[in-house]
């Protein structure tokens, strides 16, 4: 799947709009719509599976990329930003307790933030930081068709 880096990121803007109207979490709104998705709310395996496959880069965090509400979540946002990755899916688990628990069940990982690349869980903030430091993140992004901005920065350095 080729990622479009420059189209800007969404934090589930549609979901936020739904919540704004109804004043309730998205899971309940979907249920009222007829429950077409079958089992479970926003924290079910099926729902989470859909979210992690939505985009090459998906982050479950506290707050939003514009306003992280946790130092660890902010670290993830900053690292992605360093690599020029601004187009990704970010889900604020503080807005949805079902998702908050569901994502932990799905990955069998006890904490937030959680980073998924190409639908696969890669780890939290500590692991992303180490991947950034040892060059693995540049490689993983390359596999997703995303060219890290750090490569361009290096090229500029060489030109000087």
């Amino acid at each position: 799947m080729r990622a479009a880096v420059r189209t800007g990121w969404r934090i589930g803007a549609a979901a936020a709009a739904l919540r704004g109207r109804a004043g309730r979490p998205l899971s309940q709104a979907a249920g009222e719509g007829g429950g077409a998705e079958g089992s479970g709310g926003s924290g079910s395996r099926e729902a989470v599976e859909r979210l992690v496959r939505e985009h090459p880069v998906v982050v479950f965090m506290k707050g939003s990329p514009a306003q992280p509400l946790c130092g660890f979540s902010n670290a993830v946002v900053q690292i992605l930003r360093l690599h020029g990755v601004e187009d990704y899916r970010a889900h604020d688990v503080l807005q949805d307790p079902d998702l908050r628990q569901g994502i932990k069940n799905y990955s069998n990982w006890p904490t937030i933030p959680q980073v998924y690349l190409n639908g696969e869980f890669v780890g939290g903030c500590d692991i992303l930081l180490q991947m950034h430091q040892n060059g693995d993140l540049v490689e993983e992004l390359k596999k997703l068709g995303i060219r890290s901005a750090l490569l361009d920065a290096e090229k500029d350095e060489e030109k000087k």
């Binding site: 506290k62 707050g63 992280p68 509400l69 946790c70 130092g71 660890f72 979540s73 902010n74 670290a75 503080l94 069998n108 990982w109 006890p110 904490t111 869980f121 890669v122 780890g123 939290g124 903030c125 500590d126 692991i127 930081l129 180490q130 991947m131």
Partner: protein
């Protein structure tokens, strides 16, 4: 001859001091810190172990034990990718993570890795999330 770094960014205390605190000298070693120490020691037989209570940095009152960072150096990590190493640490602390342990920073290295780089990143600053939400894991 390997000299310990004069300042270790991971913890402000030398290893032996943390271990001494764990042996109920009071001060920095609360009950959860001691439990973390004991469980990680039993599960991973670390050659080096540092435990840092970050709770005060996240708005915790005195004596709070909710946010920790652990630096674990163990031969058990050899050949394992980062994700698996961290899972081993989580496994050892499963009960605590389901309970009072709200956040856990993990640095997991083999003895060879630690020897070649005896430094670890400091904790990221709190951005107030825990002050704005119910305290749960």
């Amino acid at each position: 001859q390997i000299h310990p770094p004069s300042s270790c960014s991971f913890s402000p205390m030398r290893g032996p001091l943390l271990a001494a605190a764990g042996r109920a000298m009071g001060g920095t070693g609360g009950p959860l810190a001691r439990t973390i120490h004991a469980k990680l020691t039993a599960a991973l037989q670390p050659t080096h172990l540092e435990i840092r209570n970050d709770s005060p940095r996240h708005g915790g009152p005195p004596g709070a034990e909710t946010h920790f960072g652990v630096l674990v150096v163990s031969g058990r990590f050899a050949g394992l990718p980062l994700l698996q190493r961290h899972r081993l640490v989580h496994e050892a602390l499963q009960a605590e993570l389901a309970g009072p342990l709200h956040a856990l920073q993990v640095v997991a290295r083999t003895p060879q890795q630690w020897e070649s780089d005896p430094n670890a990143p400091p904790a990221p600053p709190c951005l107030g999330g825990s002050k704005r939400e119910k305290r749960r894991g």
